[in-house]
Subunit: 169 residues, 2 copies
């Protein structure tokens, strides 16, 4: 970590303990976003954005979700999600349609091709996630990280603007 | 966490300890991306993307970086960064120009307006980061999280495609 932060840098306003935690988190956040996207595109032709949508749908009964609920689960603006779903629909990865329970709402459903793309992508992706993230930690440390981040997640839900979703990957 | 993951979900390929850690991380990653962007736009008119660029520049001497080095620091595709810098330049937040050391390279420099925008944005942003992330953890736990994530970061650098940057926020 740099010894000094310029005035104006948010890090200059944090205590050393806060800086260490936030700085380490942001480094992982930024680089992981890049590397996961690169690995998925190279090994499976899916983007990380495609992958987030597909994985979230696997956690819903029948691979079906209200578009609004999917947006909450993956933390996307509704407009960004609609735009991205259009492109995924054109590639046959998902199907969208009027919700059976509420005709004013739109559901998105994982297609057979979507399931197949995900099954093809998952093994290489999981191998990379192990090498580049999980294997750095012993199993007690994985549990520790999970516990710390679950508490951070609760604070994020409490103080953020999005409702708490149902359990979802 | 859901008790069962559908086949095809990457979580179905992970052990329970791996799933708990990766699942908690991804929940925080996705939601934090949304909430940080929302908070910054609402309180300062900057996007999270603007903010990553500005903060990375504060860590460089004179607020100046080679565009290629900035892309590595924040984990963006060079093309995405060039496109975004054009818009930030139009808003006066940064200046770009030929690098004094290498006339084939482009430097990006934080402008006075960029520093001012960052100084205006930092207090509200830091307050939100404390409430929604850091205050969920005691100071020993912040140190624990920092240690675990620094080790994850090292694995990410070792097994990823981007070079290790110099220290940077």
């Amino acid at each position: 970590m740099p010894q000094e932060f310029a005035p104006g840098s948010p890090f200059a306003l944090l205590s050393p303990a806060e800086t260490a935690a936030w700085y380490a988190y942001m480094k992982v956040h930024l680089r992981l976003e890049y590397e996961l996207n690169r690995q998925l595109r190279a090994d499976s032709g899916l983007s990380l954005a495609d992958y987030h949508v597909l994985v979230a749908l696997t956690s819903a009964p029948g691979g079906r979700l209200r578009v609004t609920d999917l947006a909450i689960r993956i933390g996307w603006e509704r407009s960004r999600l609609s735009h991205h779903l259009k492109r995924m629909r054109e590639r046959g990865l998902v199907v969208t349609g009027v919700s059976p329970e509420d005709r004013r709402a739109t559901d998105v459903v994982l297609s057979e091709a979507g399931w197949a793309a995900l099954r093809r992508a998952a093994p290489d992706h999981v191998e990379f996630v192990r090498k580049a993230f999980l294997d750095a930690l012993g199993s007690g440390e994985k549990a520790q990280l999970a516990d710390l981040l679950e508490r951070v997640y609760d604070a994020l839900v409490e103080h953020g603007s999005l409702p708490r979703p149902d359990d979802h990957p």
